[in-house]
Amino acid sequence: VSTLVSIVVSGLVLAAEMGLIVLSFSLTFRAIGFANFAQVQFVTIGAMVAVALSYVMPLWASVPIAMVAAGLVAVGFDLLIFRRIWGASVGSKMIISAGLSLFLLAVGQYFWGVNPRIYAHGVEGIVIAGQGIGYDKLVVIFIGVVVVLAFHLMMRKTVAGRLIRATADSNELLEARGISSRAVVTGVWFIAGSIAALGGALLGIETSVSPSLSTVILIPMFAGAVLGGLGSTMGAIVGTLVYSFGQALLLEVDFGSPFGTSWRFPLAYQSVLPFVILIAVLAIRPTGLFGSPENRA
């Protein structure tokens, strides 16, 4: 039972953290039409700001500040770069975003250094079915669920959500109604930047934070998004859930036990999993679980 609890909890925690990151990535993908490498930098900025501020203020204050900061950075790069390359090819846009990502990584390493840091606050825990579980894990899962639900309601029930969906589907139609699609896209950047930052701040609770966090989560982010279907925000969540539980199962289960032996997936190859998922999904079903054929990478 304790193995099961630990699989469920670690799967849910990973899904909550990565789910927010993948959600933000898919949201920008839907609005701007290409895979934005720099999304991982909004995650890292959020994590770094939240951790740095945690030494001078409580988390409930530092995390929202980190979200706003990353959202503003995202809007800044929209104004500075992304809205100026609207007509460029998908490939050029991807190279530009990769360049931006590596630029921000270098800047981050200059100012932050390479040392990982952790939150100032300690962590307490409870015990479920003989398995010690930190409150932090429960908080992460709770925040993840709440934000995803809130996001879903916003997209479906509010005017802002309708505008975002309309922009993704047809700019011309929106402009014909006298609404600036560029303003909507700028809004999308802010929302996506802050959700990415929240994901980063939560990741920081589980691990430590340094600029190279961005490098670590890049391919898992792509893999989760592609698995769910690029551009589908619902798919982002389902894709990440499948991905996280798949990974937790693969690592925690002793595959040899039905045969009376013991064989576990070698930990050394754990880092290969996201690459395999990314390649396999694009080989078998490029639109993922929920992507529509019109969505282009």
């Binding site: 290409f34 895979a35 050029s92 290969v272 395999v276 282009r296």
Partner: protein, 289 residues
């Protein structure tokens, strides 16, 4: 001083092979290969693997270039995908390859790498490399002027046109990837025999970025422009080493270098996508004039 120039020259010529390979994919065919460093790494790992298992040098050379062809075949298997999807695959495949060699000590020493690869003397590198580049260049220039060259440029510029004249996008992209894999791997073979040591640290995403800067600065689709791009970037990196050592630590120098490359990539693609020496586009007479 002269030692630095020779080192820069040999390094530059090795980059030139990798850059010509990327130019064939990106400049001519429109394939955005985010895993270009993989071809380079495969060449080096062919040599390193042969060394680690006590096989003769020629096995490593053949294996390295053959491995590049194989890597090209793997990427070719995805050439039916749209531009952006294929770019993601190229990154995924390269990361996969590098993680496997990093975590499997049996192949070539894992994270510790392989030492003791037979060194080729500077003088032999100084004639072997220009010779190889010349052969590759003549081949690429002839290829570019041939019908094959016209079709791959059409693959880049107008895919519907290519399909409407009954040509297979997939086949042309595949041939390009196999050729580019072999050319890029040649750079890796030379690298291994030049440095004598191969480890995973030498092959990060930042190398791919560097190669992209060289190609886009010089002129995508123009082999000569790309060679000038390689020369400019390489001269710049070498001259950075002459900065007064007190002003910057080695780590910060590397960061400065990377941020300049990343920034120039953004600026070039935003304001001068065709590079400094753009591809010369041939005009064809049309009925409409």
């Amino acid at each position: 001083m002269s030692q630095v120039i020779i080192t820069g020259l040999i390094g530059g010529m090795i980059y030139a092979l990798v850059a010509l390979s990327l130019n064939l994919q990106y400049g001519f065919t429109g394939l955005v290969n985010f895993g270009q460093v993989m071809f380079f790494a495969i060449g080096a790992y062919g040599v390193a693997t042969a060394q680690a298992h006590g096989l003769p040098d020629w096995v490593g050379i053949v294996g390295g270039i053959g491995g590049g062809v194989l890597g090209g075949c793997v990427l070719a298997a995805f050439s039916h995908l749209q531009e952006g999807f294929w770019a993601l695959v190229s990154l995924g495949v390269a990361s996969f390859f590098l993680t496997i060699v990093n975590n499997t000590p049996w192949i070539a020493g894992g994270p510790l790498g392989t030492y003791g690869i037979s060194l080729w003397s500077t003088s032999s590198l100084l004639y072997l490399l220009p010779l190889t580049i010349a052969v590759v260049l003549v081949f690429l220039e002839r290829l570019q002027r041939s019908q094959f060259g016209r079709v791959i440029r059409a693959v880049r510029d107008d895919q519907v046109l290519v399909q409407s004249i009954g040509r297979s996008l997939i086949r042309f992209r595949s041939v390009v990837l196999v050729l580019a894999g072999a050319i890029g791997a040649m750079g890796g073979v030379f690298y291994a025999h030049w440095i004598g040591f191969v480890s995973p640290d030498a092959f990060g995403l930042s190398i791919t970025l560097l190669i992209f800067v060289m190609v886009i600065l010089g002129g995508p689709g123009n082999n000569w422009g790309v060679l000038i791009g390689v020369a400019i970037v390489q001269t710049f990196s070498i001259s950075l080493q002459f900065l007064p050592s007190a002003s910057l630590s080695a780590g910060n120098l590397a960061l400065l270098q990377e941020s300049i490359y990343a920034l120039s990539l953004i600026v070039l693609l935003m304001f001068r996508r065709q590079g400094l020496w753009p591809e010369r586009r041939r005009r064809y007479a049309t009925a409409a004039g």
